[in-house]
Symmetry: C2
Subunit: 414 residues, 2 copies
């Protein structure tokens, strides 16, 4: 393992990378930690060509960049190796010459969060934990539950009782112990933190655990490799807590550190207008809690817990952030479905909606190479999918009625 | 292309493999066709090692076995390359030593049907069709709509108006023209056939189009390759129309024909008790329409259109068929989720339910190597997922209430 230490991003104090250390040990600080590596040693161990020749198509092919023992037991489910599509038709519809979409909805539990959960479960093995736990209403929870099931770890999930039935079904099918809390998300989170501390479970709250970003960064490795180790102009992604965009930055930075890339692409962070505390903090320098007024539930995070890492990622990459309305998110959902055959959940297509907004606003140019990361499958939120489209034509089983509908739709003989 | 001809499975008449021929041209016969290949030429063109070295992870790596020009335009979405898991925990829970699950729910539109749709859309390109069409309530329709969108082909889908909202949402997101017919599935199908003939669209009704099985057979190629070109004892899969099991048989048979395998595994076809016309026909030799009384909607096919090919597949492989109750299907859904972290729709896990039934009935032995094909993602049918499990524990946001729940569940300190 090439990890040297964990460094507090607030006070700079360093820590040994033992399984029980998750946040800064200085009680007065308690800051988030960042995992540091010996990049010279990594660069000596492996080169791009050797890595490209690996027959392992999962994210474990990038194991040398991960904070895990090379021989540690891994969870059963595969993760990563998702397709990167050059979406020419979609690009043409938007006026963009070189638009690509990475479909993270094809991970085992249907979201990018699987990359983080796979690392969390491996760390739990390394620390001989029997139970993993987190508070979440959505993809992080279902992802952790799936990976824990495949690894036969016990899994305790805390959800606010307003959590959508569908996402709860996924948790229960994976055999998690689901605690439905009659209270706000904040109350649910607090209860989970207390229970985790009391019981000594492994903590997969993304806000706390520094290893999760290390899993998420593998999406950047895959992107770079799928593009033949070249750097795109922009990578666009939705922002909630801030961990995903921070992970993407970390991944590209790792590749620059070992000399495989010469720069980091500009990152476009996208939030929903109705819940954009990170975008505001980028402008004002001050994080203030926001309402959670958007249908993109996976990024409806009024009090993000990782804004510093997210803002650093945007600034250090010379990127920017934009907000989009829920209508623009629905429009992105339709465009992605219609022109690329990909069905994304609202937060999943928010990055694409941001690309459109940024192009219209002159922030990005039509000739630039743009990657939009689609973070979650639309099948997770059929209700929003239904809201995004007009209902179908309904007819009696008679040929004349059909002809009328087809004529109205302008559909004739081939 | 290594196709020699199409042969009618009813009267034996042969046909040229032109795009406009789908069924036997003898009007009095009208039988289904089977695609035939020059296996000697295939064996001369490629060997297993060359194929295994291919960097293409999609089903197109098996292109030499497909009825498509090697340079024909392909749809944008990737297809195939799904994971095959050795599910040790699940096997142990069932008393099986060597159980594997192939997760076809990780195809782009979340079902095995993508393999057929990818071939259909490529054939439509080859014939310069502008429109593809089919009648279906489920996975075939959403799959065709997705692939057509990625290829910018027009897509017309006929569904009975009782079709579940979720599956219709997927179709509409992909921009298909959806005709909701106020009538039975039979009336819907008949209307689609008339419209397809009148307008000259490309016909993706699996009952009719002989090329769809050619796409489905690639799941057998992948299985064999993932097992290091060895043959398992059993391959289990759910049966509706009969095309999927026929495709699996065809795939293994192709590999025997070119000398890459020495035998075909025994096929276990599984139907729901409430709709098992193929199982009955296997016993009596006579196909009689059945009720469609099962929650496994994707295999609720009372009048299957491909029973002959399905029964042939079971007999020629020295396999068998079993039925399972809806309760057994729900139990399989829970077991697969809990012990493997895979969420399947009811028809998706019916093969696994059948493995359990066959093992209990002494048809298969604990030491045999068994592959269960999971045909569709559980996120397509959240309602059934919810029915399969007990609701979560609901508590006020107080630590004492939580302790009570954890004690009752037997969960303590790690």
């Amino acid at each position: 393992m090439e990890v040297t230490q964990l460094r507090c991003i607030k006070c700079g104090r360093t820590h040994e990378p033992t399984t029980d250390v998750l946040t800064c040990s200085d009680r007065a600080c308690g800051g988030l930690l960042d995992v540091e590596y010996d990049y010279r040693s990594i660069a000596r161990t492996v080169d791009r060509d050797a890595l490209s020749a690996s027959s392992d198509r999962t994210m474990w092919r990038y194991g040398v960049f991960l904070p895990l023992g090379p021989d540690s037991r891994r969870p059963g489910l595969q993760v990563g190796g998702t397709p990167l599509y050059r979406t020419r038709h979609l690009g043409r519809a938007l006026g963009l010459d070189d638009l690509w979409v990475k479909d993270e909805g094809l991970n085992p539990t249907a979201s990018l969060k699987d990359r983080a959960s796979a690392v969390a479960v491996t760390r739990a093995f390394e620390g001989s934990f029997a139970t993993v736990a987190c508070a979440s209403t959505g993809n992080a929870a279902s992802s952790l539950a799936g990976y824990a099931a495949s690894a036969r770890l016990r899994c305790v999930i805390f959800v606010p009782s307003r959590a959508p039935e569908g996402k709860v079904a996924q948790l229960l099918i994976f055999g998690a112990t689901v605690i439905s809390v009659e209270g706000s998300y904040e109350q649910t989170f607090t209860l989970s933190e207390k229970a985790i501390e009391e019981h000594g479970w492994y903590n997969r709250n993304a806000a706390i655990n520094p290893y999760l970003i290390e899993g998420k960064k593998t999406v950047a490795f895959e992107l770079a490799e799928q593009l033949g180790w070249t750097v795109p102009d922009w990578v666009a992604v939705s922002v909630g807590d801030g961990c995903t965009i921070a992970g993407i930055y970390k991944g590209f930075r790792d590749l620059v550190q070992v000399g495989w890339l010469d720069r980091i692409p500009r990152l476009l962070g996208v939030q929903a207008e109705g819940c954009a505390p990170v975008v505001r903090a980028l402008g004002t320098g001050r994080l203030e809690p926001a309402d959670e007024d958007t249908l993109a539930d996976s990024i409806a995070v009024g009090k993000p817990r990782n804004p510093d890492k997210a803002i650093h990622a945007v600034r250090a990459s010379h990127g920017t952030m934009v907000t989009v309305s829920d209508d623009e998110i629905f429009e992105a959902m339709r465009l992605l479905g219609r022109y690329a055959g990909i069905f994304g959940e609202p937060a999943g297509v928010t990055g694409l909606a941001g690309v459109r907004r940024a192009f219209k606003g002159g922030l990005i140019a039509s000739g630039e190479r743009i990657i939009s990361i689609m973070t979650g499958n639309g099948l997770k939120d059929i209700a929003s999918g239904t809201r995004a489209v007009a209902p179908p034509a309904r007819i009696p089983p008679e040929y004349e009625a059909l002809e009328g509908v087809l004529r109205a739709a302008g559909i004739g003989r081939d």
